[in-house]
């Protein structure tokens, strides 16, 4: 998506029903971050995605689904 400053933002959404295997944010490991960056580069290279923009940003949204309802945590500029 494009934010008001015309920066392209790639948002990674992670959902979990339990924190038994870690919180949703912890699931974004170093390896995943590298792959997301490379995927972002590939996406930008596609001629259909040519837009004038002002930089790139990666955000993470973590959603925890438990009995009391979803808890949403938004981490801008995560990596």
């Amino acid at each position: 998506m494009l934010d008001p400053n015309r920066t392209i933002v790639f948002v990674e959404v992670k959902t979990r029903r339990t924190t038994r295997y870690g919180s949703p944010q912890e699931a974004v490991t170093v390896r995943k971050r590298l792959r997301l960056r490379r995927a972002g580069v590939q996406w930008l290279l596609d001629p259909r995605h040519r837009i004038t923009h002002n930089g790139v940003r990666f955000d993470v949204i973590s959603i925890l689904l438990d009995a009391s309802g979803p808890t949403v945590n938004y981490i801008p500029e995560a990596f």
């Binding site: 944010q25 912890e26 971050r33 801008p76 995560a78």
Partner: protein
């Protein structure tokens, strides 16, 4: 954005410094980092602290946590800062009130279940904290007895990180494991009296050597004993601390600090008996003098500070090890230089060396039974030649014992009586050198000796110099011995008989 802080104390050698720990919780993906030159065990604190806090009912922040250890240019090592790191993170997260940690030092290693474990080196740390005006200190329960040795500080003992949280106004949910008697690491000794060195009267005969050791103890002189195997050199050396002058308060604290750093305070406790170290001749250079990677650890000579370093089979030691002893023998401290910095350890010890007269061991007296070639004998002693021997004040031959019965008990004084005489002589010497701050005759400077020794006595020294029986350094040492002999006799200053004895003790009859 939240910041929490705590105080800890680090050690480089025996020098302590205050570490200011600051934690910063910021938005980002979960990442826990510790900066400020931590070493390997301190970096592992990340796992320990995180696990311990979670075991205390605190939910670790799922975001970026950075811990800084100031001053950032000094290397920090060890696991004693775990508790302070935990406290600063808890403060940053708001689980405890940061105001409660102001001017408070927190020390301790934490286990994964949150229990607080004991640390080494608490004594020098507490002395430094006291000196810097920090009155409150949080320590592990295992170090409780050691903490009582330093007065004037409010020491709070805890067993679990949860106790820390509750003490600082937070809520904690934790399970304390029942205290096991064998587990509790009591670092200041289990209340029993420290092992006393055995009595000098247990050694059969050897009156001359016992008297020589008495002189050595009174004046702080280094000794070389040569004699056949089985003569009793090792026995006599190990009983030397029992006849040495008892340590005064300042010296006791120094020795206790070193033992605390090495973790041996429990076995020895604080006592007035000087320490005794007897490294084996296969010991490495680092084990003898101090060393190891990173910040250097104290060696045998530091553990023998204010006490006796006994080198049995002295010619068997590696030449390198013997050469490194020269500097500490003169200066009283050892400087261990590494790329990361130089560590200074005190090393004012009394050296006692024992050697066989020759490789086969029978080269004493008239040397009838000796089967060594002249070349072997020379080579055997070549390692001890020159600069090392020059620093040894007394060289004595320990003859084999010829009779194990028949000596009157009156001629066999017990250690307690000898110690009394030695303490009196030492006190006299200390009083005399009060201005110059020398502790004993062995530390007296050559200029002072030449000025204050009587003419008649100095004349004897001149004669020995002329006949080349002594070097100039040997002359100084003979004069020191003469002063010690005078102290033992209760005389004001050495006369001709004392000087003659001093010269005789100095040169080796072989």
């Amino acid at each position: 954005m939240a910041i929490g802080g705590a105080l800890s104390v680090g050690l480089i050698g025996l020098k302590a410094f205050i570490i200011q720990i600051q934690s910063f919780i910021s938005p980002g993906l979960p990442y826990f980092s510790i900066i400020g030159l931590p070493d390997a065990s301190l970096s592992e604190a990340r796992e320990r602290v995180k696990s311990a806090c979670q075991a205390s009912g605190f939910s670790w922040p799922q975001t970026r946590v950075t811990v800084n250890l100031s001053p950032a240019s000094l290397p920090k090592r060890g696991s004693s800062h775990d508790l302070a790191i935990a406290a600063s993170v808890l403060g940053a997260a708001g689980a405890i009130d940061t105001e409660t940690l102001v001017d408070t030092v927190a020390l301790g290693e934490v286990n994964l279940d949150g229990t607080v474990l004991g640390i080494n080196g608490l004594l020098p740390i507490m002395l430094h904290a006291k000196q810097r005006g920090l009155r409150r200190i949080i320590i592990p329960r295992a170090n409780e007895d050691e903490a009582r040795l330093v007065g004037g500080l409010d020491a709070i003992c805890i067993r679990h990180v949860g106790e820390l949280i509750e003490m600082m106004g937070g809520h904690a949910k934790y399970q304390l494991a029942p205290e096991r008697r064998d587990e509790a690491r009591n670092t200041a000794g289990d209340g029993q009296a420290p092992a006393q060195p055995q009595d000098m009267s247990e050694v059969v005969g050897q009156e001359h050597t016992k008297w020589v050791l008495q002189v050595a103890a009174a004046g702080g002189h280094h000794v070389l004993m040569t004699g056949p195997p089985g003569a009793g050199k090792t026995m006599l050396a190990s009983r030397l601390p029992g006849i040495m002058s008892p340590l005064d308060e300042a010296e006791q604290l120094e020795v206790a600090s070193i033992r605390s750093l090495c973790g041996t305070l429990a076995t020895h406790g604080i006592s007035t008996i000087p320490p005794f170290e007897a490294p084996h001749h296969t010991a490495s250079n680092a084990a003898l003098v101090g060393g190891g990677s990173g910040v250097a650890q104290p060696g045998a000579i530091t553990r023998a500070h204010r006490g006796v370093l006994f080198m049995d089979e002295a010619p068997e030691f590696s030449p390198r090890a013997l050469q490194t002893l020269r500097e500490p023998l003169e200066s009283g401290y050892v400087a261990l230089s590494r790329a990361k910095g130089t560590t200074y350890y005190p090393a004012r010890f009394q050296l006692v060396m024992a050697a066989n007269p020759c490789p086969c061991g029978f080269g004493y007296g008239d040397g009838e039974r000796c089967t060594c070639r002249e070349k072997d004998r020379v080579r055997y002693f070549s390692r001890l030649s020159g600069p090392i021997l020059d620093r040894i004040d007394i060289q004595v031959e320990v003859p084999p014992v010829e009779c194990i019965t028949g000596r009157r008990a009156a001629r066999n004084p017990c250690s307690r009586d000898i110690r009394l005489a030695v303490s009196k002589a030492r006190a006299a010497a200390r009083e005399r050198f009060r201005e110059q701050h020398w502790g004993c005759n062995a530390q007296a400077g050559g200029a002072w000796l030449r000025e204050n020794t009587s003419r008649a006595a100095v004349e004897l020294v001149n004669q020995a110099l002329k006949r080349r029986r002594l070097s100039l350094r040997g002359a100084d040492r003979a004069m020191r011995l003469a002063w010690t002999l005078a102290d033992l006799e209760g005389k004001e200053s050495p006369g001709k008989p004392e000087m003659m004895q001093g010269i005789a003790l100095r040169t080796r009859v072989s």
